[in-house]
């Protein structure tokens, strides 16, 4: 299945291959959300609508505040012209086409930090405004641009109503679970209404983190001197913590039809986490008697997106890692366009995979995950 030169059928070029990109970011400036937010919060967005974003990327007070731990050290002149953002669906369509992506799943920029908001009413209002704005301004199945709505973790019952509202909208294909700085972790019972709503709507729940230094998990990232260390561990630790929390609190048993997706953490840690939790399970099953199988049994039902794909010099190692967790049906391509650490599909495409496995990972698994046909139309439930 994984050999080089597998010749059971033709290996089409990236241009011909269906590429579904499970993580693309739109740019929601505070000003853009003003017409969509509850009128009580308009003055708060008016105040920050002209806040310069170039030098404080995703760090706008009252919108996406909180330290990132990355821009706080010394700065060096670099080739970077500043953060890349995409502000219109037309630009997004053409930029995704330039990197060979056919269908893109849209996530926010600033509101990656939604879980850090201390005022739950404001967080809820921001999430609702963003959802309405995204659906109205961005999503267009005919352009291959589909959205995920934000589930506000501060207000799970209200978030569940929001999910039900968009359940049958052809422009929405999933529910984004803000993961950076989330407290308590997503396995907590307070979030059950969100998972129940996802199950009823048939929408996958998607963990997506961003680099932050908070008092919540993984809080001691602030011990490092460099952005390399902080950013290197922030995403995978956040994802591993939340998946572990969900499995060990029995989420996959209580919500057997819930599909969870891990994004922006790469994939090489997946076999580590599965093997590690399985090892603990041998000794500690009595703490988790609701699990009927080992933890990896449940983790293998869920999905893992590729970006930032690890790049060992010998890419055959990646094929072996994919094989190590039976990942060929559960890995979905993601670019993270337009962020600084985005992946061009060519890099995932360099992993030596057979043509059928390559098709699954680059697009077909995502069609099944998001219940889409090849044109981006949502299939009937």
């Amino acid at each position: 299945m994984y050999e080089l030169n597998a010749s059971e059928d033709r290996r089409e070029g990236l241009d011909e291959l269906l590429v579904v990109d499970c993580d693309v970011h739109v740019h929601e400036s505070p000003g853009a959300l003003i017409p969509y937010i509850d009128r009580r919060w308009r003055p708060s967005l008016e105040l920050i609508k002209d806040y310069p974003e170039t030098h404080s990327y995703l760090n706008t007070p009252g919108f996406s505040g909180g330290g990132t731990g990355q821009g706080d050290g010394p700065m060096f002149p670099s080739g970077s012209p500043g953060p890349r953002v995409v502000s219109t669906p037309e630009a997004m369509r053409s930029e995704l086409s330039a990197i060979k992506v056919d269908i893109g799943i849209l996530f926010p920029d600033h509101l990656l930090k939604l879980a850090l908001h201390q005022n739950p009413d404001y967080a809820l209002a921001l999430s609702r405004a963003y959802n309405a704005w995204l659906v109205e301004q961005w999503c267009d199945p005919s352009k291959g641009l589909l959205g995920v709505i934000i589930a506000c973790p501060q207000e799970p019952e209200e978030a569940a109503r929001e999910i039900a509202k968009y359940a049958n909208d052809p422009r929405i294909v999933g529910v984004y679970l803000p993961t950076a700085g989330i407290h308590p972790l997503w396995g907590d019972r307070r979030y059950h209404p969100i998972f129940r709503a996802c199950e009823e709507a048939g929408l996958p729940a998607i963990l997506h983190s961003v680099t932050v230094i908070t008092q919540n998990f993984p809080y001691n990232l602030g011990d490092f001197d460099t952005g390399l260390a902080v950013h290197g561990l922030a995403h995978p630790l956040a994802i591993m913590a939340n998946l572990t929390s969900m499995v060990t609190s029995g989420i996959p048993v209580r919500f057997p039809n819930l599909i969870v997706v891990a994004t922006e953490a790469g994939i090489t840690w997946v076999p580590f986490l599965m093997n590690r939790l399985d090892k603990e399970y041998v000794e500690r099953r009595r703490e988790v008697p609701f699990l009927k199988e080992r933890p990896s049994y449940y983790l293998k039902r869920w999905y893992y997106s590729t970006q930032p794909i690890e790049e060992p010099a010998d890419l055959r190692q990646m094929a072996l890692i994919i094989q190590a967790f039976d990942g060929e049906d559960n890995i979905v391509f993601a670019s993270d366009w337009p962020h600084h650490d985005f992946d061009h599909p060519m890099k995932v495409d360099q992993i030596p995979l057979s043509p059928p496995v390559r098709r699954k990972i680059m697009g077909e698994n995502a069609l099944r995950l998001f219940k889409l046909d090849r044109t981006g139309a949502r299939l009937e439930q």
Partner: protein, 126 residues
Amino acid sequence: VTDRERVEHRVGGIDEFPAGTHKVVKVGRLREIGVFNIDGKLYALPNLCPHQTGPLCQGRVTGAVEAAANDRGTWDFEWVMQGEVITCPWHQLEFHVPTGRCLAFPHLKVRSYEVVVDGGDVRVRI
């Protein structure tokens, strides 16, 4: 391809490449080349990053940091090679223009094209 078989392609007049600047030129139908003028000497590199095919030469030219260990147990940072380092705009991978050497991966080098200045013409040998 031996050196004798290389073909010279005119990429512009010398006035189009002032010292301290760089730009990307097209050679033939598909090939894009970054031409750099560093202190009056011209260099040419492919506009293609070996990492993920990014448009390498459309990045900015700066210097780079290097570090030496000191007796205090920390590192003395130094800003070096000012005006000689091109950074890919996609993922910030740095290359030393005069040698094509990648700063992050010592084994990695991009191709350097020979640049010929003949009268007012600038040509690259490919």
